[in-house]
Amino acid sequence: MAKYYDIDDIITEEEIVSVIFQKPASGVGIDPSSETDFIETGSKVELPFWLAHELQLRQAVSVNVPPCFNQKTRLEIQADSASVDLRSRCPFFYEFGCKIAPIVSDRTIGFLLLSAFKSRYKEVLTKAHTAAFAAGSKFWTILTKEEINLYEAAQSAMISFKKWRKGGPRFQIASILGRKRKSTE
């Protein structure tokens, strides 16, 4: 419950996963393709993660591995992890992976996350502390939220150091004071 108010955590749990119902359910309108409000056993429905998780705890559904952890993505990450566009696949790749791994009982997801982060971390590290790097570049657009946080932490530290080294006025006059003086003149 520590992350109850964490907006990133909420968005992560909004991620859609596909599930297969193990029990029939009636009176639920969660499957837009079905004509009645009845869901048969074995039907495949796409649900947000938070709902799928609760249903899975009650053994009503079984959760499939989401597309961002499929074989194709894995191969791409193995080939050249630094240039894979993880953001378009899932902006909260790592957080979502941590949540989904115990549910789909796929042990390889943990390894995938660690190896992907390990190799992408180096890429972020080499670029993060050079302030000359423009924010609008291509590199920026393929990072996941967690990597962007890391990148921004390094950038802001570097920028504040550079600002300090350049010097400038130490004590800034509050804008309201400046205005007051002008009006009297």
Binding site: Y94, L125, H129, A153, A157, S160, F161
Partner: protein
Amino acid sequence: MAGQSDAELSLFSAEELEFIAEDEIVDIVPNLKMGPLNFISGDFGPFIPQIVAQVPLWLAVALKKRGKCSICPPQWMSVDKLTQVLEAERNSQEMSEQLPFHYVEISRLLFDHAHDDIPDAYMVSIKMVLPCRIMPWGFFKCFALLSSVQVRSLIEDIRDVRFHKVETDLEAFNGRTIAVKIKNLSAMEVNIVRPFIGRALQAFYKHDSPELIPDPERVPDRRPQVVQNAPRRQLRR
């Protein structure tokens, strides 16, 4: 300021580090006569004209601003010493231990407030280099020494080299190594990389936790546990 809005990573800003660095002791040559000053941190003085006294940097800067003293730059802030340090830094992956912990802050403070004192200190080294004039490039070498610009750029170079070393050291992080030992890191260098390292280590810790990468034996008894929990909770209600 880096991370000040983030309560989890409580950090120093560069200005705060500068404040801490102002407690370092420097030598000054006062040109006023004044009795000793008694502060909580100790007694400084008495101040007698042309007699070297040791004071904290903040006091030295305050006196300097009023034109009451000249600051003797510390020994390491000489072209000779700095060239030596730069050479040493370039030659090995180890961080050199010849610079003080607050060298970035101290050098900046001295450049800002006492930069007219810095070239004076190099008259000595200029005299030493003068024989080089016999050689064709010697003249240019002397010429460059005449300003504090060289000290400044030397310190910049040293800082860049050292920072690059820190970055290559940090590349060694992966899930298994949870710590990297870097000796003789200075205050400002630590401060710059701190938010990055903090977050990176948190992420590595999270992704390397045994829950995500489990021992093969432990997995089978974990999953049913979760399933059993659900009905039990319902009974309690």
